[in-house]
Symmetry: C2
Subunit: 237 residues, 2 copies
DNA sequence: CGGTGTGAAGCCTTTCACAGCA
DNA sequence: TGCTGTGAAAGGCTTCACACCG
């Protein structure tokens, strides 16, 4: 949050890139670098310098001409904007292959997210231990979400269950959902939804693969989208 | 492939949506529906009708005015375009939590991709059985890729190994890479690269979450963003 | 000088709206 | 009449290029 230049809205495309800058800046900090130029930052984030400057300008004018950006300061600025100054408790719904892998993925904790609960509809799975957590019942979802103040959820169920689970999550007070189930899920206004679809990503690659016979200089797929969204995503060079 | 209207290039944004239409059409086919209107298809794919028509028009004019699109025909058209008429053998490099989950994920097989090999740099993991496959050594990567005609790879290694693995893959002849490692990877021109970054996705959600105090009608992010796909257009290990 | 900050231009994507065909 | 196909308009994103400042 903090005091971004009044009335300035950060474009969606920029928002999806802030985490990349954040990661790049963390690397700089680890190495003890104190300032970075937009060019260097672009290199670390797989971007180009003009885009970096434009993006950062939405946060305010925090660079020093002739020098660059202060790493620590910018880190604070971005983590504030991304809401990473606090730890977000997260619930994962669906404890299959993917759900378990996500539960054991330590990249979340390192980035301000704490997997606080695992939930599954299958009674056979309830009670099972996964890492530090015991799987809880879908019936207790509302309670779990409310008690632990959870606002962010990950859906890792099979496709047919996803929409129903999303409904339960929203009813329980979750405001942001990351959906891994390969199906369309809709949520009411005011709830954020992003999706990650593994098979879809491969199919997109397959398109360019198939196209390669008559290749004619198209850039692979810098992703960005999105898809990333994500996909965006985002380099082929 | 096939005879798309000569000289017509399919925009990147459209390409990322073709898999969604494909999935929606498969649902229609399952239900025995023979034709769909752009409106219905939009609903099933979480899109709007105008966009669907525009997107499909890049494949050629295959709808019937006053009626809609023939499901079977369009399925054939899209799967041809996406190169799904053949099965693509895929190699997964990095058999940690995520790599294993991906190896066991049956959504790939259902969509024209066959996980044909698992590779890891850790000698302790080599030989280990994961599902139907035995883990092979990174040292044998080039051989594995060449012998099985692999063109598509998934990187599910820790971040520090990703760039090196990408290099090995490209050298071995892989032309499309899906990167789950949370780091920037660069590849030469002509090689397609997409990325899925789990922590990044959560951070984007976190942004909108943090923003909610001063919410003012921005759509959370129904992905497109991207996402990535997006659904994101996304995971890491 | 070197590197930021930013108008302006250009490109891509989405949306609109309606002509045209089954 | 109903729904596609598509020009045209609108909006957003990226790139350019340079004024400005430390």
């Amino acid at each position: 949050m903090a005091d971004r230049p009044a009335g300035r809205r950060i474009p969606e495309a920029t928002v999806t890139r802030l985490p990349l800058y954040y990661r790049a800046l963390l690397e700089c900090a680890d190495r003890g670098t104190e300032t970075v130029s937009s060019e260097r930052l672009a290199e670390l984030a797989g971007m180009n310098a003009a885009k970096v400057r434009k993006d950062l300008s939405y946060l305010g004018s925090y660079g020093t001409r002739g020098v660059g950006y202060e790493v620590e300061f910018l880190l604070g600025r971005i983590s504030g904007e991304l809401g990473l100054t606090q730890d977000w408790p997260v619930v994962i719904v669906g404890v299959g292959n993917l759900g378990q892998a996500l539960a054991n993925y330590h990249g979340f904790g390192a980035r301000g997210f704490r997997v606080e609960a695992l939930v599954d509809a299958d009674p056979a799975k309830v009670g099972e231990q996964v890492g530090e957590l015991a799987v809880e019942s879908l019936d207790d979802l509302a309670e779990v979400v409310a008690e632990r103040g959870i606002r962010i959820a990950i859906i890792a169920t099979p496709a047919p269950a996803a929409q129903e689970v999303a409904g339960l999550l929203v009813a329980a007070g979750v405001a942001s959902i990351l959906n891994f189930a390969p199906t369309v899920v809709s949520v009411p206004d005011g709830v954020s939804l992003r999706k990650v679809d593994l098979a879809t990503e491969l199919q997109i690659l397959s398109f360019y693969q198939a196209e390669q016979g008559n290749w004619s200089g198209r850039k692979g797929s810098k992703r960005a989208p999105g898809s990333s969204s994500p996909v965006i995503p985002e380099v082929a060079s």
